[in-house]
Structures are given as structure tokens and as C-alpha cells.
């Protein structure tokens, strides 16, 4: 059997939500960094770099 190397092929998950409050425009972007880290801990990765703009936030993760 071949020795395992680093698995490049990714798994990708996309989740869509709807809100009760039509006035609230930030939605999931209000999740604090600790909450995101808790989610990423379950996945087994961490944030190594981040940037955002008016529309969304983007995080480069370890692994």
C-alpha cells in the first residue's frame, strides 16, 4: 500500500440561513471570533489569516 501523503482534495460545505429580523443585515457576520474558533476546533483547523469587506468576511485556515 502506498504511504499516505497530505490529502489535497477538499471537502466543501455551504449552508444557507434565513432570519426572523429583516432589519438585521449583518446576520452570521455577528458571530464572534471565539464562536468561529470553537467551530473550527471541531473541524480541526485554525485561522491563519483574515480579510473582509462590505459584503463578507474571508478566512484562510490552517491545513
Amino acid at each position: 500500500m502506498a504511504v499516505s501523503g497530505f490529502e489535497g482534495f477538499e471537502k466543501r460545505l455551504e449552508l444557507h440561513f434565513f432570519g426572523d429580523d429583516p432589519e438585521e443585515v449583518m446576520g452570521l457576520r455577528l458571530l464572534n471570533f471565539d464562536s468561529l474558533q470553537q467551530v473550527l476546533h471541531a473541524v480541526q483547523c485554525t485561522v491563519v489569516s483574515a480579510v473582509g469587506n462590505h459584503y463578507f468576511d474571508s478566512y484562510v485556515l490552517s491545513e
Binding site: 460545505l13 455551504e14 452570521l28 489569516s49 459584503y55 478566512y59
Partner: protein, 282 residues
């Protein structure tokens, strides 16, 4: 790996032996505290190179689907799981989608722009060795991951794929690269594992069916030229049939030949078109 957080949408894409599906329950819980309810879920992946190294629930697609079914709330009642094959048994595209009744109504009854977006998910293997070598750092270079990433972005031409995008990049030690591009409300992302024998790169972006198709073609060409892969797959998720038709022409003009094309329809996600290509030199 990458995470994108929009007001009502989260996209998370992770490689290696990460346990991505374990993010679903905490994300649903955190969202609930913000007054948000899950209305659709889409999970996709290619074939793992080292499937036996994957931990539960990623031990098989069957296990992943059972886990997804268990995590998702019952309001997401329109569900479908499918493995889209290619002519090569080693390349197939795994897709699971779930949507609630409200989203299905919107998807079927509302006109564009609600159905205008498409997503390209591109997987490339057997990268050209000269191209792959650019994703290695020199031993003891003393650079931060941010600086190493910036240099790789420039050296490889990745920065020219979409010159208007703001790029957030990272060069891993001793090798490997991740990049997120943000351009208005659109993201793009690249991940590279350059090691010979299991080299891999991915590119993903979103676009609109109303974009100039020539721009789409140019992006695809630039991506192929950066990595010069021997094998490539492109998955296009879109309600329109028009976008994916320009894909083969763009890629074939750079020496790759389309070997297979599979189409399937998924609840609320629309059509998924899975095309595979190999270099003519093979």
C-alpha cells in the same frame, strides 16, 4: 483551507484529514442564537487520494451522508445524495444537498436574479513540476506565512487571475499555499499541495450567468496556465445550462481533452455539471 462568512451564508472548505462535517451542529446552534434558521445545505467533494487516512465521518460517502442526515433539521426535507461518475473510475464527484420547503418554492417560482449565480469547483492533479516547485519555501527563509504567500501569489501569476480582487494569501512551511480572493460580493479561493506524487491544486469561484462568457473563459485559461495539470475536473453548479458549455472550449485550447461530462439535478442547488479533462500528452 478557507472559510467565507456572509450575512446568511457560510462556505467552509477544508483539506487533509479535517472533520468538516463536525462543523454543522455548532454552526446551526450559533446561528440560532442570532435568530437564523438553516434553510439549505450543500456538501461536495472529489475522490480522496488517500481515502483510508480519512477519519469518521469522512470514512466513506455513505458514512458522510448518514452523518449529514442525522445533523440536519427535519425542515430540510428535500434531500439528495449522488456520486457523479467519470470515465476514469478514480475521479467522481460526490454531492449531497438538502433544502427546506420555502427555498424550494423560491427556487421554482421566482425569476432571475435569484437563479443567476454559478459556482466553479476545479480540482487539478499531477501538476507541472516547474509550476509546483514555486509553492515550496526555501528552508529557514525566516519569512512569515503572509509574506511567503504574497511572494508565491506574485511569482506564479495567481495575482493576475482576477486583478481586481483583494487577495489574502498564506505560504505554508515547508510547502503549500492557500489564497482567498474577495471582489465585491464574490469570493475565489486556491489551495495547493505541491508534493510530487500527490500534487494537487484547487480553484473555486462564483460568477453570474450574466457575466461576459469571454471573461469566464479567460479566468479558466489563467488557472490552467498557473498549474499546467495533467488531470483536471470542473464541477459547475448553476440553474442555467449556458455557463458550463464554454468550459470545455476554454480548457481544450490549452492542451487538455474533455474525457467525460455528467449532469445531475439537485433540490434548490440546480444542475451540477461534472467534466473531466486529461492532458493530450498522456
Amino acid at each position: 483551507s478557507s472559510l467565507f462568512v456572509y450575512p446568511t451564508k457560510i462556505i467552509i472548505k477544508t483539506c487533509g484529514t479535517t472533520q468538516l462535517l463536525k462543523s454543522i451542529r455548532p454552526l446551526i446552534n450559533h446561528a440560532r442564537h442570532l435568530g437564523l434558521t438553516l434553510c439549505s445545505c450543500r456538501y461536495t467533494r472529489g475522490n480522496f487520494i488517500f481515502p483510508k487516512s480519512q477519519p469518521f465521518p469522512h470514512t466513506s460517502f455513505k458514512d458522510e451522508v448518514i452523518y449529514l442526515e442525522d445533523c440536519l433539521p427535519s425542515n430540510l426535507c428535500y434531500r439528495k445524495a449522488s456520486v457523479m461518475p467519470s470515465k476514469s473510475g478514480s475521479h467522481s464527484w460526490h454531492v449531497f444537498t438538502a433544502a427546506d420547503n420555502g427555498l424550494m418554492m423560491i427556487h421554482h417560482h421566482l425569476p432571475p436574479p435569484h437563479q443567476e449565480l454559478f459556482t466553479f469547483e476545479i480540482c487539478m492533479t499531477e501538476l507541472d513540476r516547474v509550476s509546483a516547485a514555486k509553492f515550496y519555501r526555501r528552508a529557514g527563509d525566516g519569512k512569515s506565512g503572509d509574506l511567503a504567500g504574497k511572494e508565491m501569489t506574485e511569482l506564479t501569476g495567481i495575482g493576475n487571475i482576477n486583478p481586481s480582487a483583494l487577495i489574502c494569501d498564506f505560504g505554508f512551511d515547508p510547502c503549500g499555499y492557500s489564497m482567498n480572493g474577495i471582489d465585491g460580493d464574490r469570493y475565489s479561493t486556491i489551495h495547493v499541495t505541491p508534493e510530487d506524487g500527490y500534487s494537487y491544486a484547487s480553484f473555486e469561484c462564483v460568477g453570474s450567468v450574466y457575466d461576459d462568457h469571454e471573461d469566464v473563459v479567460q479566468v479558466l485559461k489563467k488557472v490552467v496556465q498557473v498549474f499546467r495539470p495533467a488531470t483536471m475536473s470542473i464541477s459547475t453548479t448553476c440553474s442555467s445550462h449556458e455557463v458550463w458549455t464554454c468550459v470545455a472550449g476554454a480548457v481544450e485550447s490549452l492542451g487538455l481533452k474533455c474525457r467525460s461530462c455528467t449532469v445531475d439535478e439537485f433540490p434548490a442547488a440546480g444542475n451540477v455539471v461534472f467534466q473531466t479533462f486529461t492532458a493530450r500528452r498522456k
